[in-house]
């Protein structure tokens, strides 16, 4: 077992291709091609796969084991991405999908920047949500993790309660907060009214007054950087749902830090703030990088929560919602493809930026 012969990709794939072709050939002789034949072929192939798997030696086993995952990834990610890139260079909409697809070069890319008035605001909003959401969730999550950095009573109950928001469907979270933040009958404004305060126009385009009142910068922030209550509502809802995730992971990391450096720091007379800044943060750096990256990726994927809160309203659109609106609802496949490629590029850039800032994240093994 110790000496592993080099795994052979191509021969293994050839074996399985031959098995599949053989199965199909035999079935085809007896059955007309159709769903029944395909199903039978599939079942036979899976049976042969399992039966042969236990008999194969190390050399062929490695890629045999990888085969199902490779097929799924090929069919549902590799081919669609190639197709996506193809769509981006042709002009394809619902109107000519079954007809001729004219090649237009970079026209679709130009068109997104030139004709799509929602594109830039949406991109800016997505990135702003990324930065502000990460910051808010990190600061609050770390604060809470430091505060509860000890054994507490009812530890497992606390864990359950804190797990609940992040395990809840983001659609349900969005619907729930749409009610909580409702102007007339939402819980928040009702509580404010009870205290004798005016209700706040959550979920609306209304600018946040104190931001707007900032000298010089205020109106610009309102105009270009979403300083309105609708965006604030999104931030609050996202933070409510995901700050516990930060808390959970950062607390786990804090609890596993070594004790000795802290004793040394105490003997050297370091204050609480100094200990945190020069000891805890550097020790946590790797973990912080990974946790932030995981959240960053997730924020770029945000769809359901905003969809439930605002549907595809233009003032709150983020990239995934824009892609859905343009590509699926308007059925302009090429424009949607360009937007998809841009979002994919943004994700890769974010990953790259984290790699530069925090070193190779543990997320990438090896």
């Amino acid at each position: 077992m110790g000496s592993q012969r080099p795994a052979r990709l191509i021969p293994t794939l050839c074996i399985w291709a031959a098995v599949l072709a053989g199965t199909w050939g035999i079935i085809w002789r007896f059955l007309p091609p159709g769903p029944v034949a395909v199903l039978l072929c599939g079942v036979t192939f899976v049976g042969l796969y399992v039966a042969l798997m236990v008999r194969l030696g190390d050399a062929h086993l490695s890629y045999t084991l990888l085969l199902p995952a490779m097929v799924l990834l090929l069919g549902v990610t590799v081919i669609p991405i190639a197709f996506l890139a193809y769509l981006a260079f042709f002009r394809v909409t619902i109107l000519n999908f079954r007809g001729h697809w004219p090649f237009v070069g970079l026209e679709n890319f130009l068109s997104v920047f030139r004709d799509d008035s929602q594109f830039l605001p949406t991109l800016v909003r997505t990135l702003e949500l990324l930065v502000l959401g990460l910051l808010l969730q990190f600061v609050l999550g770390l604060g809470m993790a430091l505060w509860l950095n000890r054994r507490v009573r009812f530890e497992s109950l606390l864990a359950t309660l804190i797990l609940l928001p992040m395990m809840t469907n983001s659609i349900v979270v969005g619907m729930l907060w749409k009610h909580l933040l409702n102007f007339y009958n939402g819980l928040f404004n009702l509580l404010l009214n009870l205290l004798g305060l005016e209700g706040i126009p959550w979920l609306t385009q209304a600018p946040i007054e104190w931001v707007q009142a900032l000298p010089a910068l205020g109106p610009w922030l309102v105009e270009h950087l979403n300083a309105n209550y609708a965006f604030l509502s999104i931030l609050i809802t996202n933070t409510w749902q995901w700050m516990p995730f930060m808390f959970l992971l950062l607390r786990a990391a804090l609890r596993s830090l070594p004790v000795e450096p802290y004793e040394a720091a105490r003997i050297d007379g370091a204050g609480a703030w100094q200990t945190f800044w020069f000891l805890t943060l550097p020790l946590l750096k790797g973990v912080v990088g990974v946790v932030l990256l995981v959240r960053a990726i997730d924020i770029l994927k945000t769809f359901g929560m905003i969809w439930a809160l605002f549907g595809n309203a233009t003032i709150t659109r983020v990239m995934p919602i824009h892609i859905y609106t343009v590509g699926i609802q308007t059925q302009d496949y090429s424009q949607g493809a360009v937007l998809s490629l841009i979002l994919a590029a943004v994700s890769v850039l974010v990953y790259w930026a984290f790699q530069q800032g925090f070193g190779r994240p543990a997320l990438a093994r090896e």
Partner: protein, 272 residues
């Protein structure tokens, strides 16, 4: 005295924190039993006559039994496919380093990729293949998007199983597959459980693919059905809350009973 003060302050603060996260759920459960007038009342209504009418509405006037069954089916089938494929793949990666850099890169890449980016090509491909509005299409799409996360997680758990155990089994004449199924899987059982639970929850909660690939009544899943109560004209809050409770209930039960596994999965999923 000071310690007592500190401790009670701590308790109060904990109470507030719990209130922030549990309060909204409590409000949702309460709302699902409220008559319509109490939900839309413009003052705080704490006394009302509890009613089943919202649950009655979603199960008898809307096809929520079908949607619930669909959701269960999608979550289960997705999990079976994902976990089966990723157990094999994770073992190949962990013990053979199979796949090379390109495969590793692609796993990483699909894990980062927002699902929305593949919406259009998948929609067009599925439509050509006649997979739109079938659960099959949705299950395939969900399974492949869960795959990278699940392989990732399982590989971490498999790496923790000492190779020595397998070498000993090999000396006793066990084949590779025997050592995977009789040694590695049992030893890594908590990890496998965590992976199964997390993929069940993720597939149960999946929304974007569900509304695009399976929006017909016969194939609709719960989250998509729930959001139908929110239209541009009116929001039927009672059924919204009731369907919210139906969606959250199994997940809440999992968080309560299997919390240890979920936390382990989330932690390892991020740190390994």
């Amino acid at each position: 005295m000071r310690a007592l003060l500190r401790r009670s302050g701590f308790g109060l603060a904990m109470g507030a924190v719990i209130l922030v996260w549990v309060g909204p759920f409590f409000w949702m459960v309460l709302g699902s039993f409220k008559p319509h007038e109490s939900i839309i009342a413009t003052e705080l209504v704490l006394r009302f006559t509890p009613t089943w009418e919202n649950y009655d509405a979603i199960f008898s006037r809307h096809a929520f039994w079908t949607y619930t069954a669909n959701s269960f089916l999608v979550a289960t089938a997705t999990t079976v496919i994902t976990v089966a494929a990723s157990i094999l793949a994770a073992y190949a990666l962990s013990r053979y380093r199979a796949g090379g850099r390109l495969f590793e890169f692609w796993l990483m890449f699909t894990r980062m990729l927002p699902p929305a980016t593949l919406l259009i090509p998948l929609f067009l491909i599925f439509r050509t293949l006649g997979l739109i509005n079938t659960l099959t299409g949705l299950i395939i799409a969900d399974a492949s998007f869960l795959l990278s996360f699940s392989i990732w997680l399982l590989r971490g758990f498999f790496d923790e199983v000492p190779v020595g155990l397998e070498e000993a089994a090999s000396c006793d004449g066990a084949s590779r597959m025997q050592s995977l199924f009789y040694i590695v899987l049992p030893v890594a059982a908590p990890g496998v459980t965590a992976t199964v639970i997390l993929s069940l929850i993720f597939a149960w909660n999946e929304y974007l693919f569900a509304i695009v690939f399976a929006s017909a009544t016969a194939s609709k899943t719960l989250p998509a059905a729930a959001n139908d109560f929110i239209t541009g004209y009116a929001i039927n809050w009672g059924p919204v809350f009731a369907s919210g409770v139906v969606i959250v209930l199994p997940v809440a039960a999992a968080a309560l009973l299997l919390q240890r596994y979920i936390v382990r999965g989330l932690t390892l999923g991020a740190f390994k």
